[in-house]
């Protein structure tokens, strides 16, 4: 069984994002694996352990430095990695096409995992586009997952806290949510072993894919540094509560 997991190399959550003159971000910061992708890798690795004759292949698209995130996936237990190199940042439409082309060139997927969202571009769409390219069903924000012969059963959480119980035919794409599992953090021997695992690199231009007609073009980007000037409220608890009621009523107009 071929278990694919798509991962993304993203700026660390604590990093300060600086924007270059050309509108790109200054990449001289720490990058990590997209946090939700850790749950995706963990799910793939767990499924691999339960399945005879299976293999986990981690795939990413990025510049050469994205290899670090693939190595992290290998240290977490993936068997092989595929790095699609692209100097420019692609939109979700082209990214999904590239991931699809790389997967198809590699093998026939039985299941594809990826994080439910990326914390950098926050596009909320690549998994659906990958599903459309692979012509297979997709669900997102999975928090429970089990697989039988030709189908999977997943519980997905909607933001309202409602839970959807779903069955899907395989192959399928599953967007991992934070509560799907507890990613295991690799130990030193795993990290050393990951360095020797096979990692193939393919240039975006060498993939067999048609570039899409539709696209999302970034026109400009700026840092959002909203400065607020705090007003101090003090007094007794009752006096403070009165002041907050006044803000809710007169300033925010959220109560009558």
């Amino acid at each position: 069984m071929n278990i694919y997991v798509c991962v993304k190399h993203v700026p660390d959550t604590a990093a300060t994002i600086r924007i270059n003159a050309d509108g790109s971000i200054d990449e001289n910061i720490t990058f990590i694996m997209n946090p939700y992708d850790e749950n995706a890798v963990e799910a793939a690795v767990q499924l691999n352990k339960q399945t005879a004759d299976a293999e986990v292949i981690a795939v990413t698209l990025g510049n050469q430095s994205a290899e670090a995130t693939l190595r992290s996936a290998l240290a977490m237990g993936a068997d092989r990695g595929i790095l699609i190199t692209s100097a420019e940042r692609l939109d979700s439409i082209a990214t999904a096409r590239a991931l699809c082309a790389a997967i198809k060139a590699d093998g026939i997927p039985d299941i594809v995992f990826m994080g439910k969202e990326s914390i950098d571009s926050e596009g909320f769409q690549t998994m659906y586009r990958l599903g459309a390219c692979l012509d297979c069903p997709v669900v997102s924000n999975a928090l429970e997952f089990s697989m039988t012969e030709r189908s999977v059963r997943v519980t997905c959480e909607m933001e309202s806290g409602d839970l959807e119980h779903i069955t899907m035919e395989t192959p399928c794409v599953i967007g991992a949510g934070k509560d799907l599992n507890q990613p295991s953090y690799p130990k030193l021997p795993d990290i050393l072993k990951a360095r020797k695992k096979p990692l193939g690199t393919i240039a975006l231009a060498d993939l067999e894919m048609d570039m899409p007609v539709s696209r999302v073009e970034m026109i400009s980007m700026k840092s959002l540094n909203e400065e607020r000037q705090p007003t101090v409220i003090d007094g007794t608890a009752d006096e403070i509560a009165d002041a907050i009621v006044e803000i809710l009523r007169d300033k925010a107009k959220v109560i009558d």
Binding site: T16, D120, C136, P137, I166, D179, V213, R228, V232, A252
Partner: protein
């Protein structure tokens, strides 16, 4: 004339006010504004929608009645309507339901999609959204035959635009798409959805325990506010991850955000910095949040919040 379709969501039988906010994005454009309805009472929704500039309401059903909830089926039905009516632009909400359906529609049409827009210009197909968890804002232009946008709930206020709309029904066939929704287990807790709340009261390390969140819930209940949490509160197991606001949790944009016992890490701010008014209640006057809020309350939250609950009870 240009046509713009809006994907309408229903909550408790009513059109969600946030959808009316999304409709307001088209108020200055010479276009036919079409509402797409997949649930709820169409005649009742029409009453609301026509007061906010909708000219045409399309109820999407099957020959056997409404399409049972299945995001994939709903998305395919929306794609069918857009094709049938020749509508190039679809606007919806970046809500839980909207994210699920709009992304599927965009994938099926191979159309560009900008999700979680804080502003859109439907005349020149540009949209503004934050990225890197609110650390940057970017403007995008979509290119393609179709354009799909998901508006952040509450980013735009509804603008009354009274008129009259007509109601029509679009019947579609369901296809098996490989996804079966067995059932939906509704969240029975009487909690307000974080991403769509006008007011959010959040608790952090200062809460001390999961049980102490009860005082936040009680206060929130008085004004239909939602309760959120910082990552520390979630990591300590006091509350569940769906309540987490911040970089690896929800991004919210309420009119008022009340942070209780939250120090205000960069990651937390990433999830709530676009809030209208930020009120911080923290015993530590040197906490980071105290210099990045609109109102800094340096006091014990266990005194302030119950007092606030009492005052709100008195006036309600």
């Amino acid at each position: 004339m240009k046509k713009i379709a809006f994907l309408i969501e229903i909550k408790d039988g009513q059109v969600k006010p946030a959808c009316l906010g999304a409709v307001a994005a088209a108020k200055d454009i010479d276009a036919e504004r079409i509402a797409l309805l997949l649930e709820g009472d169409a005649a009742q929704s029409l009453e609301t929608l026509q007061s906010f500039g909708i000219q045409r309401v399309v109820e999407i059903t099957t020959a056997d009645g409404p399409i049972p909830w299945n995001a994939d089926q709903w998305a395919r039905a929306v794609v069918a309507v857009l094709g049938n009516l020749n509508v190039p632009i679809l606007v919806g909400l970046a809500s839980s339901q909207g994210k699920n359906i709009l992304a599927r529609v965009a994938a099926l049409l191979d159309a560009p999609l900008v999700m979680d827009c804080i502003d859109i210009n439907l005349a020149d197909h540009t949209a503004v959204k934050s990225q890197f968890s609110g650390k940057t804002v970017a403007r995008f232009r979509t290119h393609g035959e179709h354009h799909v946008y998901g508006m952040r709930p509450n980013a735009l206020d509804p603008v009354p635009l009274p008129g009259s709309a007509h109601l029509e029904t679009f019947e579609t066939d369901l296809q098996d798409t490989g996804i079966t929704v067995l059932d939906v287990q509704h969240n029975t807790a009487d909690h307000v959805d974080l991403t769509e709340a006008d007011v959010i009261i959040s608790g952090g390390r200062g809460m001390g325990s999961g049980d102490n969140f009860d005082i936040l819930f009680e206060c929130a209940h008085q004004i239909s506010a939602a309760v959120g949490a910082s990552r520390v509160a979630v990591d300590n197991g006091w509350v569940n991850h769906p309540m987490q606001v911040g970089q690896t949790g929800k991004t919210v944009s309420p009119k008022v955000y009340i942070a209780c016992g939250i120090s205000g890490s960069v990651q937390h701010f990433a999830g709530m910095k676009t809030s209208g008014i930020i009120i911080a209640v923290n015993q530590d006057p040197n906490a980071a949040i105290m210099s990045k809020c609109d109102y800094a309350v340096s006091a014990d939250l266990f005194g302030v919040i119950p007092a606030l609950t009492r005052k709100l009870k008195e006036i309600s």
